[in-house]
């Protein structure tokens, strides 16, 4: 597991988190929550762009052409495979998973790799408001199942005990402690099958994002709305 592999997984998860947030921009419980969902979605999509841009300076870009045809090559957690149908899924992702990703970003910013130290710092300022939003909604009370699943997948994202990634200031155990401190609670008891854990996708579950979302990521959904008479885009040499 290289640092680039971790950064790509973080980028893919941030992209999916941003998309799932955006899907709730007209369905949240209040107008303010709608706007916050849209704003946080934009933030996380922007963060994913910054993270993708770090791959080349890191010296190794793990992205392959298979990402155009195989949704299972996108390195997102299973939590983002399907659109959320309940607000409690949004809140659990916002409070637990978004904060878990922030813990990894903190480990990058406080780590030893200069490009990550410089480029990811601003994300922490923006993430402060995601955290406040998620923690407040979490305190209002949500269903247990999405929360338990979010915790499980956060711990899977951190990786198995002892699997520290070179260049980061924290390993999986420290990240878990950081998440517990932030959310002011102990992680629930969850069973993680590390023997099934995929080190590239950082998840134990099989599966992949739904077809509609995958088509959207590839830009195919946009093409449906192009005028039928529109000429093909000119090739840029």
């Amino acid at each position: 597991m290289s640092l680039s592999d971790l950064v790509l997984s973080l980028a893919d998860n941030k992209q999916m988190l941003g998309l799932r947030y955006a899907e709730w921009a007209t369905r949240a419980p209040s107008l303010e929550a709608d706007i916050a969902a849209a704003a946080m979605g934009l933030d996380d999509l922007g963060h994913s762009r910054v993270l993708y841009g770090c791959l080349e300076p890191l010296g190794y870009d793990p992205r392959t052409p298979a990402r155009e045809s195989d949704p299972a090559t996108i390195r997102n957690l299973a939590y983002f495979d399907e659109p959320w149908t309940e607000w409690s899924q949004f809140v659990a992702a916002n409070a637990v998973l978004d904060t878990a990703f922030t813990a990894v970003i903190e480990a990058c910013v406080n780590g030893s790799v200069e490009v990550l130290r410089q480029r990811l710092r601003k994300m922490l300022m923006e993430e402060r408001y995601h955290f406040l939003h998620g923690r407040s909604w979490l305190r209002s009370g949500i269903e247990g199942a999405p929360l338990l699943r979010a915790w499980q997948e956060a711990l899977e994202f951190f990786g198995p005990p002892g699997s520290d990634v070179e260049g980061l200031s924290m390993g999986p155990e420290q990240m878990r402690t950081r998440l517990e401190e932030q959310l002011e609670t102990k992680a629930p008891d969850v069973v993680i099958h590390w023997n099934l854990w995929d080190p590239l996708r950082r998840r134990a579950a099989e599966g992949a994002i739904d077809d509609h979302t995958f088509a959207m990521l590839r830009g195919l959904e946009e093409k449906k709305y192009a005028p039928p008479s529109a000429p093909p885009p000119a090739r840029v040499r």
């Binding site: 303010e32 929550a33 916050a36 408001y129 406040l132 909604w137």
Partner: protein
Amino acid sequence: MSKSKNGYRRVSGDAVEYEVFARKARVDPLHLVGSVVAPDADLAMAYARATYDEERWCEMAIVRKADVIRLWSPGEQ
């Protein structure tokens, strides 16, 4: 706290109104840019930032509307 048909709790059930103040430069006075409704200060901060972050403010602050002491209001003087 009220619940919607989808079962989740609505913010507005027992929410508080907060006034949002901001300024673009240190030399400018803080001025009222709007308001948000939220059940606590954490969420109000997140909402204020999401709603009024279009411009490059150098400072933003929120105050519970109920904490503003009014000497008089429109039509009372």
